[in-house]
């Protein structure tokens, strides 16, 4: 570790202030590695290269997700297609929705999938048999986003009808409806132990809810309120990554209500582009962009470490593999392909 008292020109990221050090731990680093190896990992850049292109979708791909056990990649347009995560080989197609699918999510045991569709319902699928186990009806408009909780007995969904609903997986009943926002809800996410839900909306607010009681615990609002297009908890549950439609990604400490980091450089003014934490190697923030590239930022220094090009259209969704340094990205209507990228760090 560089000496703090050394104020010569040999400045490296080791002399980072404590807030940034805390932010580096945001991605779930253990504290020992944060103090010992932080300088080395942060100054290294990642070298993601294109490994596979998966072709097969007939419409714009709206969601890509890796399974928690690292075996599968689920991609959705109107059909949900499952591919092998390591080699990109096609596995099977899951169909059943009447209209396009906006989001798909895996359960923690990688056996179940939930999909949110424009036909106002969500469907729970069994991966092995490709059958629909439950159809969750109740929303009155397009369902935009969905997620399982870590124990995979609950599903949370956000919809264009401005509400957030919590469903029970076993019975398929809606347990709670949260009158969350005054505009379409763009993202919902559980934190690491499933006790909190964060939701974002076009009305510019990020709200944090208590799962058990349904009470709104906190509302995050910035100086101006551009529509928030995406939000998720960090892997350790202390921070929130929010994407807004003014080409900005922000990392918030939600308990203090303060914005810690701002990531710029990409283009995001129209679509709800998904952002990710990459924690398998170096700590990166990964997001798609409307200029057809995938942007990778260093989580702590906020600089762009890599821009992956190759897509022919807006890169709407990206996903990070849970154990390996693999990124999956998918393009919209003009592109319709999914690209798998690998890196050494």
């Amino acid at each position: 570790m560089a000496d703090r008292g050394d104020n010569s020109g040999a400045d490296s990221s080791a002399a980072a202030p404590s807030a940034a050090a805390a932010a580096a731990a945001a991605a779930g680093l253990s504290s020992s590695s944060a103090t010992n190896s932080k300088p080395a990992t942060e100054s290294r850049k990642c070298n993601y290269t294109l490994k596979f292109t998966l072709v097969g979708h007939t419409k714009a791909v709206s969601s890509v997700k890796f399974s928690p056990n690292g075996e599968w990649l689920a991609t959705a347009d109107k059909l949900i297609k499952i591919w092998g995560a390591m080699d990109g080989k096609f596995e099977k197609t899951i169909e059943g929705h009447k209209l396009g699918v906006s989001d798909v999510a895996w359960s923690s045991d990688s056996r179940l999938l939930v999909s949110a569709s424009d036909d106002k319902c969500l469907k729970v699928w069994d991966l092995a048999t490709a059958k629909c186990l439950k159809t969750l009806k109740g929303h009155t408009n397009y369902v935009f986003c969905c997620n399982f909780n870590p124990s995979s007995n609950l599903i949370v969904s956000g919809s264009f009808d401005e509400s957030v609903k919590i469903w029970d997986v076993k019975s398929g009943k809606c347990l709670r409806t949260l009158p969350a926002h005054s505009d379409p809800v763009t993202a919902v996410h559980f934190n690491r132990d499933g006790s909190l839900i964060v939701s974002s909306s076009y009305d510019g607010l990020c709200r944090i809810w208590d799962t058990a009681s349904g009470q709104c615990l906190k509302t995050l609002i910035d100086d101006d309120n551009p529509p928030v297009s995406f939000v998720k908890f960090s892997p350790n549950g202390k921070y929130i990554l929010a994407a807004t439609l003014d080409n900005t990604l922000k990392l918030w400490d939600y308990s203090k209500g303060r914005c810690l980091k701002v990531y710029n450089g990409h283009k995001n003014e129209k679509y709800c582009i998904i952002a990710n934490f990459s924690v398998t190697g170096g700590k990166w923030i990964i997001s798609g962009s409307e200029d057809n590239m995938v942007y990778i930022w260093n989580l702590q220094t906020k600089e762009i470490v890599q821009k992956l090009s190759g897509h022919q259209d807006v890169v709407l969704c990206t996903a990070c593999h849970p154990t390996q340094n693999i990124i999956a990205s998918a393009g919209l209507e003009n592109d319709k392909s999914i690209k798998l990228w690998r890196s050494d760090f």
Binding site: K59, A60, G100, R111, D126, D183
Partner: protein, 459 residues
Amino acid sequence: MSSDSSSSSGQRWCICRSTDTGRFMIGCDKCEEWFHGDCIGVTPKQADAMRNYYCRRCLKRHPSLRIVWKTADPGDESASSGPVGSSTRQIPPQAQQQQQTSSSRSSAGPPAAAPGPQSRGQVKQPKQQLQRRRRVQQQQQRPSPSPAAAPTSTGAARVQISERAGARRQCEGPACRRVALRGSAYCGKACGLERAKRRLIDLLPARLAAWQARVPVAERRDSLRLSRVVQAADAAKRRLTDGELRHRALDQLLARGRRQLRGGVTEEPGPPGEDDVTVPCPSCSQETPVRSALRHLLKCQQRIESRTSFGAPYPSQMDGTPLFCDRYCPASRAYCKKLAVLCPDHYRPDASETGDACGCPLTDDELAGPLCPVARQKCTRHFAWARMRRAEIDIDRMRQLMRLEELLFEERAIRQAMMQRGGAVSLLLHSTIDHQPGFNLPVVEAPSIGLRVPPNHIL
């Protein structure tokens, strides 16, 4: 959103908070705020048709306010009230139909082209422009579809254009010069089939070769899993046959007892003080003296067991010693499916079991060691020992049967997945382009067998 904020160049208006007043703007009659027409989705024509206009905020805050139109125009979308009651909220039906082609996430975009969010009614304008722009782009830019999907996509694009243009095109069948039918790419069925056949011949062998050249990781993983499942199933089957052998050993032990011991000896009284020791019965919590404990325990357990019945409408088919009771009960029209040796209602001591003496082995040496000589009815130390042993063996057999069933189910699931992989249709529809062939993928550890039992709690 207060109107107090002002910059040096002028006051800020509208939901986009800009100072630009050069564009068309409309003012709210309640809060006196001015909005750009294109920010909130009101055209000059619509503004002309309104008697008074209230902004979205005022409409929300004061439910009594209504936007009043000069003439009742049912065709005007903004006049129709949506599900929430406010006038600008409804997504017009055209936009909804456009949604059918792709999901709302990939086609909608956000509500406004300019950075001002709020009303959903704004969705319609930028989205329609977006759709039109994209379609035009597609027509001009047709060529860069991915190589694998080349034949199908260009064919589809060509059909679209021909329909739109209305011109008659040449049939796309191989070496065919006739005119294509309206709304079709071919002059007839034969050409279409011929083209499809050639496409298959062209594409399929290459795809099959690529598929087989590198076995999918999932395939390798599944075959490993399958071999493990088969091994476990074999182990379970072996334990089942072991159960049979244990039954036979028990039979021999009983036979030896009958041979060697004639008549029953009366039991010697136990060490003094033993009569006072009591144990609580786990079923009824009574304190039972040790000497009669075993008998009491069995009676208690049977009493509780006989309260419930457990049956199925078909008799079981077992190889070897019967496991289940299988007594037919006419009342419930079912066969009793409790363990035969422990069934409280239907167990009858087998004739061959009875002998005069207890016969329980007193040491670990069961083949030649001493056996208990006390009369069977009188022996309290080894009450019903043979029956308990049989029950133990049968419980193990039952467990192995259940495990076998689960393993069979998992094996079936794996085999089905392996069979459905790499089918001709999915090979044609999908392709994976490897940009670095020759790069070795890291070896993936096959996960240990998780029982892929169907999620019963959901079904």
